[in-house]
């Protein structure tokens, strides 16, 4: 049993606040620790309990990088329990960047923030209606005197929430967080895919999918009910994306090709032949070879909907045979069980995305747009870094070769020089098709790892 008191959890863990269509991501630098602690204490951070109790019009969330906690006077490197990935930072180790695919054009040296200039210290997330958000921002900034902390950058999110700039409905599949701690992970039932995920995968101090409470900074309650927030600013070449799909498949076929690359219809519905009940009532168990939804498609990489065993549940003896690897093939058992690698996604688009149909027709307005990718997880290594490194960026996902995520791949050649810019799928006649030469559609332009504390932990961090 593991439950979290909702009044100790920041509200973003529980919801994305899609109805509040204005968002500002304020990146701060601490100039004076005591003064910064004082004025940050004055900001009202929204709790999950408040969000449950009433319909909020203003939401403020607060998170810190490791550099930020150090700047506030907290000896994070000496406090046991902080994740080493967090302490290193997203851009702090070339080996990490290599593993995550943050190289060449996506390398930290090219970022607008979070790269060579160093980590920002504090992240404030402000959410309100679009018409009110700038007023809210101004009020909030007015409470932060420059002697205490300075604004590094304010990133703006824009609507519509839930549709990313390429035009696709986004954020459809989210894990069902087991807030009440009723789930008992482990055992034969987990051979099948499930959406409900142990609380400890998203909040520190709770039982995770392995059935244990992983280490976290326990001293003085700093870590309890906190989580790690990954923020990556992804610039999207929307014009390039649609120009390329039209070039490959013609005006009439561009949408169908794009939908196969994503793995969903543009309106968020699953590909029809998967026979889904609702938007998320499907797995890929009926489509092991990717005849309907390509193995390398974006949604299949981001969440392969795999259980502990691709052969499913087969009774005691059948399960034993599966576990010993005496039945089944390597090719159909190439993807790890999804329940250990889920993320709560809380990202929002930015910029004004052009109209998709106009783009397909060849009209080319150019305003920069992209996604403020934000996700929450309790284990940076096992969740975000695994998904990004082994599933999204890897040209070897699912036993494939020569393909990265068709949307997010950096297209850098594999070791040995083999290209990674292909995408394989089956067309409506069941004929296997292969396209190559995918350009890079998405470029990472900034990012950092943050710690999003529980409210008790926050009070401890900001106390004098």
């Amino acid at each position: 049993m593991s439950t979290a008191a909702p009044d100790d959890v920041q509200a973003l863990v529980g919801r994305g606040f899609g109805s509040l269509d204005g968002a500002r991501y304020v990146l701060l630098r601490v100039e004076d620790a005591a003064a910064a602690r004082h004025c940050l204490r004055g900001l009202a951070v929204t709790s999950e309990a408040q969000a449950r109790a009433s319909r909020l019009t203003r939401v403020l969330q607060m998170a810190f990088t490791a550099a930020g906690l150090r700047a506030l006077g907290l000896a994070v490197d000496a406090i046991p329990g902080f994740a080493p990935e967090f302490l290193d930072g997203l851009s702090g180790d070339p080996s990490r960047s290599r593993r995550l695919g943050d190289v060449e054009n996506c390398a930290p040296s090219r970022w607008r923030w979070g790269g060579e200039a160093g980590e920002p210290h504090v992240l404030l997330i402000l959410l309100a209606k679009q018409v009110e958000i700038d007023g809210y921002l101004a009020e909030t900034l007015a409470a932060l005197p420059g002697a205490a902390c300075t604004v590094v950058q304010v990133n703006a999110g824009s609507g519509p929430v839930g549709r990313e700039p390429f035009g696709f409905v986004d954020g459809v599949s989210q894990p069902d967080v087991d807030w009440d701690g009723t789930l008992k992970p482990g055992g034969a039932k987990d051979r099948l895919y499930r959406e409900d995920i142990a609380l400890g995968e998203f909040l520190l101090g709770h039982v995770n999918e392995y059935g244990f409470v992983a280490d976290y900074p326990e001293a003085e309650g700093i870590g309890r009910n906190g989580t790690y927030l990954v923020y990556r600013q992804l610039e999207q070449d929307v014009v390039g994306f649609w120009r390329w799909t039209v070039l490959r498949a013609g005006e009439g076929g561009a949408m169908a090709l794009a939908e196969r690359m994503v793995g969903r219809r543009i309106d968020g519905d699953p590909l029809p032949a998967l026979g889904s009940e609702g938007r998320n009532g499907f797995t890929f168990a009926t489509d092991p070879d990717g005849l309907v939804c390509p193995i390398g498609s974006h949604i299949r990489r981001a969440n392969p909907r795999s259980g502990d065993d691709p052969r499913g549940r087969r009774g005691f003896l059948g399960d034993l045979v599966s576990s010993l690897g005496l039945k089944g093939t390597a090719m159909h058992d190439a993807v790890a069980s999804a329940r250990f690698h889920r993320l709560l996604r809380r990202g929002r688009p930015y910029g004004t995305p052009p109209d998709t149909q106009a783009l397909i027709a060849g009209e080319m307005p150019v305003e920069e747009c992209g996604l403020h990718f934000i996700c929450l997880n309790a284990s940076l290594a096992r969740q975000f870094e695994f998904v990004q490194g082994s599933w999204i960026a890897s040209p070897y996902f699912g036993g494939l070769s020569g393909e990265q995520d068709p949307l997010l791949g950096n297209r850098c050649p594999a070791n040995g020089g083999a290209p990674t810019d292909a995408f394989g799928y089956y067309d409506q006649h069941g004929t296997p098709r292969l396209v190559a030469g995918l350009p890079r559609f998405v470029t990472l332009v900034g990012g950092a790892y943050f710690f999003l504390p529980g409210l008790g932990g926050l009070a401890r961090i900001l106390r004098n």
Binding site: P80, P84, L87, D88, D93, P94, S95, R96, R98, R99, N208, Y210, G211, F212, A214, D215, D289, D308, D309, S322, S323, L324, G325, L326, A330, M331, D333, A334, A336, S337, F340, H341, A381, R382, E385, F386, G389, S390, S394, P395, Y396, G399, L400, S401, G402, A414, N415, G416, G417, A418, A422, G424, Y426, G430, T431, P432, R433, L434, V435, A436
Partner: protein, 415 residues
């Protein structure tokens, strides 16, 4: 093979080995000392200094074990063909370089016969796993070349009817040289069958003893499982950086780990039996692409050191370290527990196969605690995963026996 190195010259040896690499730990195939790339029977090879960072654990957990053990330099290669031939070929290729490297070993003298010295220091493995028995470097290389030849044609003719595309691909396939696959001879087969029968035969012979011994065995095991100390310290960040710097340059990574067995005969002999059974299973059951459900290991070996007080584990696997660990925990925790739970400090197991690796955090920390850097690691086929090699073999099979209908579509999709 492995030999103790001279006292106080470890840094110089590391510097010398570093001249063989292009990036941390990644061998330059054309390096001046041992140009692995020219010995085309090698799949993977490594030079690793077996310096055990977990030896001080003995002071804490196992006072009966000696405080010191020799630091060895090991050379490990997975290669095709006969061992004697391999040593000869290796010496012919790189005698001067090998002499320079081995001169750091205690008993290597300038006038020593290199091949004889290497043979003398050859260590037998207790268990050995090969992803695909009988697949030679020649086969892998030729099939990869076949794939490289077919893929542009598939791209160029994308959208063509499957049968028409197949005709084009078969024509191209016909121009790529493919050496007929080697079949094992009668003597080899008989030897294999004989070895296969060993396990059932020994099992049958020892059956009465097993029956009699089962209850005391379980009692001792359960007692030890409840009382054996666990040691899984929080990873040191600097050391993790050093190890990470060697990793993820290729889809395949090397892994080296060393540690002491728990003291006493019970654990030692349990390990001997388990590794023997693992070796038997790897030879006769898990021959084609999978070790139980783990598909990512190219080669792995377990070797006893120091009169079976320690085990050195080496593997070559696809993916990143975190992914490798997760893959293991989720799919074969029982196998990990069998093969490693006799190690000093291993996370608590129940009934030999339960618990243990399932204690994810402790298990990952235990592994990290025992992982050591590999100074030079060579892989003959950069960029190729186990899946790629198996796929290329299927593509080749489709050239030899052209498929039709659904099988044809599947075949085309793999190119």
């Amino acid at each position: 093979m492995a030999a103790p190195i001279r006292f106080g010259c470890r840094a110089d040896l590391e510097s010398l080995l570093a001249t063989m690499t292009r990036e941390p730990g990644q061998a330059d195939p054309e390096n001046a000392l041992v140009p692995f790339g020219r010995l085309n029977r090698i799949h993977v090879a490594r030079f690793v200094i077996l310096d055990d960072p977990s030896l001080p654990d003995r002071l804490l957990l196992a006072e009966s074990l000696p405080v010191h053990e020799p630091v060895r330099l090991a050379f490990i290669a997975d290669f095709d063909g006969d061992e004697a031939d391999f040593f000869d070929a290796l010496a012919a290729l790189a005698e001067a370089g090998l002499r320079r490297i081995f001169s750091f070993c205690i008993d290597f003298t300038p006038d020593a016969d290199l091949v004889e010295w290497m043979r003398d220091h050859n260590l037998p493995t207790a268990a050995n796993y090969i992803n695909w028995r009988g697949r030679s470097t020649r086969q892998i290389g030729e099939e990869a070349a076949l794939h490289r030849a077919l893929r542009p044609a598939r791209l160029l003719h994308d959208g063509l009817a499957p049968e028409a595309l197949q005709r084009i691909l078969l024509n191209i396939g016909g121009t790529v040289p493919l050496t007929p696959l080697r079949r094992s001879g009668l003597a080899e087969k008989l030897l294999d069958i004989g070895h296969f029968l060993l396990l059932p035969a020994i099992g049958l012979l020892l059956f009465p003893f097993v029956i009699v011994g089962a209850i005391p065995f379980v009692l001792v095991l359960r007692h030890r499982e409840r009382t054996d100390p666990v040691l899984a310290p929080v990873p040191d960040r600097a050391r993790n950086r050093m190890l990470s710097a060697q990793e993820d340059h290729d889809i395949t990574n090397q892994y080296s780990a060393i540690g002491s067995l728990k003291p006493g005969r019970f654990r030692r002999w349990l390990t001997v039996v388990i590794l023997w059974v693992i070796n038997w299973g790897a030879r006769h059951i898990y021959r084609k692409g999978r070790l139980a459900r783990v598909n990512t290991i190219h080669f792995a070996s377990w070797t006893f050191l120091d009169e079976r007080r320690r085990v050195y584990f080496a593997s070559n696997y696809d993916g990143s370290r975190e992914a490798y660990n997760d893959d293991f925990i989720n799919k074969v925790a029982f196998g990990l527990n069998l093969s490693f739970s006799n190690g000093l400090g291993y996370p608590r197991t129940d009934w030999l196969i339960l618990g243990g690796a399932r204690r994810e955090q402790d298990f990952k920390r235990y592994l990290f605690h025992h992982q050591i850097p590999t100074q030079v690691w060579y892989k003959a086929f950069p960029g190729l995963s186990n899946y790629d090699m198996a796929r290329n073999a299927r593509i080749r099979a489709g050239i030899d026996h052209p498929p039709r209908g659904k099988a044809l579509r599947r075949w085309l999709a793999e190119i």
